[in-house]
């Protein structure tokens, strides 16, 4: 399958007390059309810096090349409270992505928002509410819906379920799985939780201190890890979840 994203020799450098510090160093990988690629690693290993560099949010200190082969990618963040404008109603927030582009009239925008609400299993009455009146799970559904309004082919989800409790987590994961199937979007799924990655992804990359130490098919990485760091991660995870 064709690539939707090519990352070559990407590094992100921060200056810390005048000493250079690489949050991401010399990372290369591809994301193929319509796949879910997992990016696993402990907190602080550079996962978020990597995603910000891919999206071009972070520009300072970024070297290497990032090539997108599809429309502008969208992002779903970890904290669903911070990723919704607190002073706008949900209806406004969901319309914003297509309002910004300006090629639909009001009625068409409303229709598209309603369609999207059905896709993410939300009630229409939610449109008149403010973000702080929703539960964490509802908010994350809204975030996903907003990210999909421009019909992207590629979505980056940065720890999208880490702030939610376990039952809601599995609902959101199911939703992502279903949307992935229905819409054929590629997802770069970032998580520190190996169990979640295992449930969702086709391929997986393991990241440690800014480097990708292992990359491959899910089963290979989980059951036949090569790198000592991956091995220790898997052992730890197995004793916890994969008995």
């Amino acid at each position: 399958m064709a690539n939707i994203l090519e990352v070559r020799n990407l590094s992100v450098e921060f200056k810390k007390d005048k000493k250079p510090f690489f949050a991401v160093s010399d990372v290369s990988f591809d994301v193929k059309e319509g796949e879910i690629l997992g990016l696993a690693g402990e907190s602080g290993c550079g996962k978020s810096s990597l995603s910000r560099a891919i999206l071009g949010i972070q520009k300072k200190g970024v070297t290497g090349s990032v090539k997108h082969f599809a429309k502008r990618p969208q992002m779903v963040f970890q904290d669903p409270a911070g990723s919704l404008n607190p002073s706008q109603k949900i209806g406004f927030i969901l319309e914003e992505p297509i309002r910004v582009k300006g090629n639909f009239d009001k009625a068409e925008r409303k229709r598209r928002v309603k369609d999207m609400l059905k896709k993410v299993d939300l009630d229409e009455e939610i449109l008149d509410r403010y973000p702080n009146e929703l539960s964490g799970g509802q908010r994350q559904r809204v975030c996903i819906a907003a990210a999909l309004m421009q019909e992207p082919k590629f979505l980056i989800a940065d720890e999208p379920v880490s702030a939610l409790d376990v039952t809601v987590q599995s609902q959101i994961l199911e939703l992502l799985k279903r949307l992935h199937k229905e819409l054929g979007i590629a997802i770069l799924f970032i998580s520190h939780d190996l169990r979640v990655v295992y449930n969702l992804c086709d391929r997986v990359m393991v990241m440690k201190s800014g480097k990708i130490v292992e990359m491959g098919e899910l089963q290979d990485v989980y059951f036949n890890p090569q790198h000592p760091y991956t091995k220790s991660l898997m052992d730890a995870a197995k004793t916890k979840y994969l008995k």
Binding site: I57, R72, Q74, Q78, S83, P86, S87
Partner: protein, 267 residues
Amino acid sequence: MDKTKTRNVKFILGLTLTGIILVMMIAGIVHTPYDPMAMDLSAKLEGVSFKHIMGCDNFGRDIFSRVLVGVRETMFVAAAVVFIGTFVGIIIGTVTGYFGGWVDEILMRFNDAVLAFPSVLLALLVIGIMGGGTKALIIALGIAFVPSFARIIRGEVLRIRNLDYIQCVRLYGASHLRIIVVHILPNLRTVLLSSVLIGFNNAVLAEAGMSYLGMGAQPPYPSLGLMLSEAQGVIYSNPWNAVFPGLVIVIMILGFSLLSDSLEKKT
């Protein structure tokens, strides 16, 4: 529970005091018992009576009428000053906070310079250039009020612009102007509300102080600060000349600070 109770008390008290001031201000516009500028030498330094409920000043002018008009003057100057401060402050604060870089450096260093400069001295400078009067006072104090607003707004914009939802909107391809106007400015309102109320207080004090020094409203036109300064000469023989305008200033400040205090913690 206890905290909400004191907050409510503060809110109600603040509202009442501010209400009294507002009623006085409206009364000053609609009707005053005497012409605030009419001198009546037969009533010179007359004490408190039913005819003149706050007494009369050195020129036999009714102090109550003068206070009513003075409140209006003070409120007008304070409101105009806060408006200038907030308006320019929002522009400078948003531009510096949002774009950062060298624009931020230059404007904020300039801001610091103005902030470090004593505001009375700054006002003196502007009034010296423009000549005295209310208009010059408003501009002078307005300039002096910009830096503190700009700093507050800048900090808040800096916080908001790094929130995830701004990143989301940026990924939609929204323009900077749209991000600022639609997604940042509306979220400044809580910070703005309390700083406007506090700023209003400071402006009332500054106006009173400046007209006390003779740089605001020009006699015979009344202003609270000017009345205090005129009362100074007769403070031992006729203390009410100073007490009533002073009391009104205290009520004004107290009302607004209680109000801003209770609102600040509510949000």
